[in-house]
Symmetry: C2
Subunit: 270 residues, 2 copies
C-alpha cells in the first residue's frame, strides 16, 4: 500500500464535522480510512454509523476510546470497565480492529496504584476483546497529560503492560506527539514489533499553544516524522496512518482544506 | 540537619526581588540557603554578590545555570561552553558546590545529535569544574520543555550521562516538577545514589496554567513530595532542599508571605 492508501482521518482533526460530514469529506478527498470517536458515533447510533461508513466504502482504522481505569471505588472501576466493554462492542460493529485505550489519570498521588488499576482494567477487558476480535491498543500519552488523561506516559511502559497479555489481544498505539521526546523511542518501537496497532501523526510547535488542543499539522513542527515512521515501518507496521490533530485553530478551517493539506503533508514528510 | 536547616530559596521563586532583597528576605525569615540565578548575580557583580551573601550568613545551594550546549556551528557550541566556564567560575566565587546544567533545546529535528553535543559540552567543562571544585548537576527537565530548554528530559538519561564522568565532578539534580510522572522515577533515584547534587521542589496543578511559568506551591498539587523526598533521602542526599517555583501569580505576592508559606509547606509535606 502506498502512503495515501494508508491515510486515515481521525475525526478529531475535523472536530466541527459530524460523522456524515467526515465520511463525505473522506470520500471527496479520497481518504480511505477514518478513525472514529465514540461521541461522534453516538450522535448517529453505532449501527447506523457502521452502515454509513461501510456504504461510503471507507474502513475504520480505530475507535477512540476506552480506558480511564483508575477510580477510587471498586464500583466506579467496574463502571469504567463496563463502558470500555461497550466501546469494544461498538468497535466490532464498526469493523475496527483496534480500540484505542487512553488509560486514565490518577485520582490521588499514588501513581503506582493508578497504574496497577490500569493493568487490572485491561486484564478484565481481554476476554471481551478476544470474543469480539477487537485488539486493545494502549496509547502512551505525553507526560504533561498525566494529570488529565493517562498515567501511562511512555512507550516503554505501554510495551511492558501490553507484554502481560497475548499479542493477539493487546498492543500499543504510537502517536508521535506523545513519544517524540523519548530518548528510548527507537529501541521501544523496535521492541513493540508485532504489537503496533496504530500510528498517529501531528506535530509539535514551539511555543506550544495548548497542552491538549495545541497540536500542529504534520511538518509544521519539531518532530522527526520521517524517522519515526521509518522505525514503525521497520518494526513491521503496515496499517493505517491516522492524522490526529487536536487544535482549535485548525478546527476553524474548512475541513476539505485540512484534508487536502494532510495528504500533501504525509507525502512530503513521511 | 532538620528540614528547615536544609531549606533554600531559589531566587526565581521571588522573581521580583533583586539579590539584596532576596538575601534580606532569607535572613528575616530564617531561610539558611539561597539558590542564585546568574542574571540576578550580574546585577550586583559576582564578587559583590558573594560578599553580600556571605556577610548575611547565608550559604549558596546552587547556581543556575550553565548548559545550552546544542548549537549548529562549532563556534557557537564553543561560545556556549565558554559561557558555562564563566558560570563555573562564578559558582566557585559564590562558594556554591553545584552549577545546575540546563542542557539546552535541539536546533533541528536530530535529538540524538543534540544529545551528543550535550555530552561533548559536559566533557569539555569537567576539567574546569574539577579545577574550581564545582560539581556539574545535570537537571533533567520535563519532556514538555524539550523544545525550549533541554533535550535531557528523564532522570535515566541524566544518570547515564553523569555516569560517563567521575562522581566527583558530575551528578544530577532532581526537581520533582520535572520527574514526578516517570514510571522509573524511584529506581532512577536509587541509581543516582552518590550523584544527587540538588533537590528542587514545587508542585503540579491541573490544569497547568503555563508550561514554563505554571508551577505551584509545594502541597497544592498532584506530586507525591513526601515519597520522592524519602527516596532522595534513602539515596543518601542530605543537601539543601530548594524551593523553585516559576509562577507569575506567586511573583505578584509579597516575598515574605511566600517565604513563610514555603517553610510551612516543607514541614507539612516532606
Amino acid at each position: 500500500m502506498s502512503l495515501l492508501d494508508r491515510l486515515s482521518l481521525n475525526q478529531i482533526t475535523t472536530q466541527r464535522w459530524d460523522l456524515q460530514q467526515a465520511v463525505d469529506g473522506c470520500v471527496r478527498n479520497e481518504v480511505p480510512w477514518i478513525g472514529v470517536w465514540r461521541e461522534k458515533i453516538h450522535e448517529f447510533g453505532a449501527e447506523h454509523s457502521a452502515r454509513l461508513i461501510r456504504d461510503a466504502g471507507l474502513k475504520v482504522s480505530s475507535v477512540c476510546r476506552g480506558g480511564f481505569f483508575p477510580a477510587p471505588t471498586e464500583g466506579e472501576r467496574k463502571a469504567r470497565i463496563d463502558e470500555s466493554r461497550r466501546a469494544i462492542e461498538e468497535a466490532a460493529l464498526l469493523g475496527a480492529s483496534t480500540l484505542v485505550l487512553v488509560c486514565g489519570p490518577p485520582f490521588d498521588k499514588d501513581l503506582a496504584g493508578a497504574r496497577a488499576m490500569v493493568a487490572e482494567g485491561i486484564a478484565a477487558l481481554v476476554p471481551d476483546a478476544a470474543a469480539h476480535k477487537v485488539k486493545l491498543g494502549i496509547e502512551p500519552l505525553h507526560p504533561m497529560m498525566l494529570g488529565q488523561r493517562s498515567v501511562i506516559c511512555t512507550l516503554a511502559e505501554a510495551n511492558a503492560l501490553a507484554g502481560q497479555f497475548h499479542a493477539e489481544h493487546v498492543g500499543v498505539v504510537v502517536d508521535v506527539f506523545h513519544v517524540w521526546w523519548d530518548p528510548t523511542l527507537y529501541s521501544e518501537i523496535a521492541r513493540a514489533a508485532g504489537r503496533i496497532l496504530g500510528f498517529h501523526i501531528s506535530d509539535w510547535v514551539e511555543p506550544l499553544p495548548d497542552i491538549i488542543y495545541g497540536r500542529a499539522m504534520p511538518g509544521d513542527g519539531l518532530i522527526d516524522l520521517r524517522r519515526i515512521h521509518q522505525a514503525v515501518f521497520e518494526a513491521g507496521y503496515r496499517g493505517p496512518i491516522e492524522v490526529e490533530i487536536l487544535n482549535t485553530a485548525i478546527w476553524e478551517r474548512p475541513g476539505d482544506e485540512v484534508l487536502r493539506e494532510m495528504k500533501e503533508r504525509i507525502v512530503e514528510h513521511l
